[in-house]
Symmetry: C2
């Protein structure tokens, strides 16, 4: 039996690893060559970590698993009846069982024209683009003699008050207030404005009360301006339009939403407004039981009645479960329905605050941050020898230093940079 897995994120990787002892062949296909530890991607965007600190070649992770081949390539379509996936470039790969774990991408809610002015944060390239914008804004402000333009350069707008938005806003405030403060001679970086714009009444609204209120307080204590019930009606080269109100900002970051990748719509199943593919109780498609959809691309309605959120632990659990059902097929056993045991969720705010929810426990402040740090330590260290990342973090935590404050761009024009 040949199992093809599309995507080497948390869900796809978990599915591949769950199949390590199964008597079948696995091919894992991903557009990039690496697995990305996305929960820490905001640290790359804010110059705290280098991309290689949170990414690892998929082949290296699966090196010892002899039944897996890894293929770098882009899956552009699936022939569900003929049981083959189509790769960009024209090649096809046949499968007996398919696991689609292709994930989600940033959604500008129908306003793709905002993308150049307000990048999202899903890939390494996104993170480096954001880092470039943040660092360049300070450099330009330093030598800007027009007070209005300098204020615009020193204004950072983060759109979307979910975990990514709160993490970005907290990190940018820390950079401005502490990290680069003594590096600049003319501009007062600690007068930077960091504005977090949220359309709903609360930040981190997926958490139960009183956590959103506590998160908002922690953000404001750090120096973030939090605007709730505020909708973005336009983004352009100089700032953000918020209905009647104008926010001039040189750096605008988009953390307001994601949607399932286009491939989800090409599987023939039902797709919701967020681009997610509805899956049956066993995580396969109703009409094509050979095809499983897992991770952020899947819409699975939980026993509570809500669809499961796009979190790493959910993705891993789904990936493992799909793999188990494939092994059940191989053995002729019945497939089992997926049941998710909620392990909680958390968000970090700045360098030592946060909120966390686990079972009946609602944590906030330093305690939540410690829980967050320990759990990420555990996951990262588990994921090969990333102990160094934590040495780096420990140094950064005590010194307020950020190790990756580099401005450079790959130069597509072929013009040389010195």
């Amino acid at each position: 039996m040949h199992v093809v897995i599309v995507g080497g994120g948390f869900a796809g990787l978990a599915a591949a690893q769950q199949l390590r002892k199964a008597d079948l062949r696995v091919t894992l296909i991903d557009r990039s060559n690496h697995h990305l530890f996305q929960p820490l991607l905001y640290q790359v965007a804010t110059a705290g970590l280098a991309p290689s600190d949170i990414a690892e070649p998929i082949r290296a992770i699966l090196r010892r698993q002899a039944n897996v081949s890894v293929r770098m390539g882009e899956v552009i379509g699936v022939d569900v009846d003929g049981r083959r996936v189509h790769l960009a470039g024209g090649e096809e790969v046949a499968y007996d069982r398919l696991v689609v774990a292709a994930g989600a991408e940033t959604s500008w809610f129908g306003h793709d024209e905002w993308q150049p002015f307000a990048p999202g944060l899903k890939t390494v390239a996104d993170a480096l683009d954001i880092r470039h914008r943040i660092l360049t804004a300070f450099e330009r402000a330093e030598w800007c003699d027009d007070p209005e333009e300098r204020e615009r350069l020193m204004t950072f707008a983060v759109i979307g008050g979910g975990a990514t938005g709160a993490e970005l806003a907290g990190a940018i405030v820390e950079i401005a207030m502490v990290t680069v403060r003594r590096d600049f001679r003319r501009v007062k970086t600690d007068r930077a404005r960091v504005v977090l714009v949220e359309g709903g009444p609360d930040v981190l609204a997926t958490f139960p009360a009183p956590l959103p209120g506590k998160a908002r307080k922690q953000l404001e204590d750090l120096g973030v301006e939090v605007m709730v019930d505020t909708f973005v009606t336009g983004v352009d080269a100089t700032g953000v339009q918020l209905g009647e109100q104008r926010l001039d900002a040189a750096t605008v970051l988009w953390a307001a939403g994601v949607r399932g990748v286009d491939l989800g719509g090409r599987l023939g199943g039902e797709v919701d407004r967020g681009g997610r593919v509805s899956v049956a109780a066993d995580l396969s498609l109703e009409h094509s039981p050979d095809v499983f959809v897992v991770g952020d691309l899947a819409r699975f309605v939980h026993q509570t009645g809500d669809p499961l959120p796009g979190l790493a632990p959910v993705a891993q659990a789904m990936g493992r479960h799909a793999a188990k059902n494939i092994v059940a097929d191989l053995r002729g056993d019945a497939r089992a329905p997926f049941v998710y045991r909620d392990k909680g969720s958390m968000a970090t705010i700045g360098r030592s605050k946060g909120i966390a929810l686990t079972g009946p426990f609602k944590l906030s402040g330093f305690v939540a941050w410690v829980a967050w740090a320990l759990i990420h330590l555990f996951f990262l260290v588990n994921f090969r020898n990333r102990v160094l990342v934590f040495v780096k973090w420990a140094i950064a935590w005590f010194t307020f230093e950020r190790a990756s404050r580099l401005i450079w761009k790959l130069d597509p024009s072929g013009k040389r940079e010195r």
Copy 2:
């Protein structure tokens, strides 16, 4: 007195630091925001180190030096009579003394059309481009069913047998033979061909006999094919033309030469074939004693009759000397002529070989590598807290692992990557 320094490489940074106690203002202007430890750039190109391991914001390095301002910007011209530099964007900066330390860039010897097929190695963007090409070649070879094309994908040509060429070739062989060997299932990466092409009769020809011969033997022992007396007559999308001979290679890297940046030609002084500006004994321009040229951009004829080579210690010594002569001007003292005390030179080959020359001592093999590693350790650790780099290296040395094997590209088209 206002001193403007153009370039934050070894020469410019040394000049700025030498002026730390002088009673004058210094403005250091660089196109990028970081100082780059170029001697280790080949490690970024071969996935051993991350860019931030060998680069540091210039402002952070000079943070405590109150008389320096750092400005990110591109100097496009100098008005020597009016004593001002012109920045891209139209601004001007007036100076009393100018230190031009703008460095060198890759030279394709009049064949700029080869550049897209054979990138040089001078910037972080160059290094990431090369890393992308090397890693992608293995990925494509893994799934290539055409034996001829697979062989082409597994052929790596390095043009130029100087230190950079030898270092790149040695590192690529190590990647192919050891690092990625167990990661690939179909292609035998240890059958990769790494060809080092040198136009002269020797590799590392700037070293005295018997070192070039020993270097060649060490390269060949590692598995590098060394071709000497071989001129490149063409480079295209599929490989290299060597006179009558054809070398099909998917990855071609250019380490054959550099030339002073264009700015050198705009100072009004004498410029040699390599784009270097001839300087007087005090390192200033004959016709404009207010302007010093130092580092790779300067042509300074040594007491031995040869121009000084483009090495970090030479650049640092020149930068410091120009700064001392500026202080002499300030005090009304006479300027001193520059004298370079040769501290030797070295090149590393693979993970534990090399050659080194220091005074009467000619070292080769493991001893030379240890000398190389210790000296680079000393310099890097000196250059802020880069101890982590050496922890990383120590781990890599024992495990043969390379920590930065990431394939990604900034996407200029705006098309999203997952």
